[in-house]
């Protein structure tokens, strides 16, 4: 009986040490695989073509139909419209509150004329809160943040 006990415990020790060595082999092999991390500020991961960044607007395409304002789950878009001379509705003011936006893409999907779309900016950091309340109509609204172009 003692012999089988000894044998079994020897066997355990051997398999134990073997499993330890197998673990070491794995970590050693990984030494030679290329690094999977990027050096962030220098190399940036290019976002894909469908990436949902900040909301952007082609003001001329917008027909002020309020679909996007209704579709937004967190009510971060607010718009007022006015009548032009030949009875066409265009937007008067169009504000976008980045604090509330959850980047879900529902507005982009619901817009009939493709006026509202989501651009590729994902580095959104500011020191003041009022920088997060954007007026979508002025063209250089996002100049402050770096534009990461798609692939």
């Amino acid at each position: 009986m003692a012999a089988s006990l000894m044998l079994r415990s020897m066997n355990n020790i051997i398999t134990g040490i073997l499993s330890l060595i197998k673990g070491l082999i794995i970590t050693f092999n990984n030494n030679f695989t290329s690094a999977t991390t990027l050096q962030y500020p220098d190399e940036k991961k290019a976002m894909t073509e469908r990436f949902r960044g900040l909301i952007d607007l082609y003001p001329e395409k917008c027909v002020a139909c309020y679909q996007c304002v209704k579709a937004c789950p967190t009510a971060c878009l607010a718009m007022t419209h006015k009548q032009t001379d030949e009875k066409k509705k265009i937007t008067n003011t169009f504000t976008y509150n980045i604090e509330l936006c959850c980047f879900c893409g529902l507005c982009q999907q619901v817009c009939p004329t493709g006026a509202i779309y989501m651009n590729k900016i994902y580095e959104i950091t500011t020191y003041e809160r009022n920088k997060l309340y954007i007026n979508l109509l002025n063209p250089e609204k996002y100049d402050e943040w770096p534009h990461t172009s798609p692939k």
């Binding site: 309020y66 209704k70 967190t74 009510a75």
Partner: protein, 150 residues
């Protein structure tokens, strides 16, 4: 077993139960709950898993919903109890199913349904000294801004 067979079997044992018209839920009077629970846990129906306990605030009454599931027989049962809106009281099932402990605490926390002789009747999600029951339709939290309905 199909829901109809379950219902007939239960009807035979408990004549005072009824079937809700739209859904396949079984409605039982409040006092029957403990006895009903013990019956469905063993032999013929073996509902060994109290899957979910919740409540619906229908303004004039509160529906308490229990959803059971049976592992061996793989069928499920939805049980409903109608309670008065003022101070709804019902027996706790924590003695029979241990999962009821936390599920009932959550229902108490959000709806105010008090479960009698529950092992640990405190709130679970809100702070312990929170006033009011958030999921009630008449609940109005001071700074709750409802999303503007356009």
């Amino acid at each position: 077993m199909l829901t109809t067979e379950i219902f007939d079997l239960l009807k035979a044992k408990f004549p005072r139960i009824a079937k809700e018209e739209g859904t396949s839920a079984v409605i039982i009077p409040k006092e029957l709950l403990l006895e009903f629970g013990r019956f469905i846990k063993d032999a013929p129906l073996i509902f060994d898993d109290l899957h979910c306990v919740t409540a619906i605030d229908k303004k004039e009454k509160i529906d308490l919903v229990y959803i059971f599931y049976s592992n061996p027989l793989q069928h499920s049962l939805t049980l409903k109890i109608y309670l008065g809106p003022e101070d709804p009281k019902v027996e706790s099932l924590a003695a029979i199913w241990k999962s009821a402990n936390w599920l009932e605490r959550e229902t108490y926390d959000l709806f105010g349904v008090t479960f009698l002789n529950h092992p640990d009747p405190r709130r679970i999600l809100n702070p312990y000294d929170w006033k009011g029951y958030p999921l009630r339709k008449n609940y109005s939290a001071p700074n709750f801004i409802a999303k503007p309905k356009l």
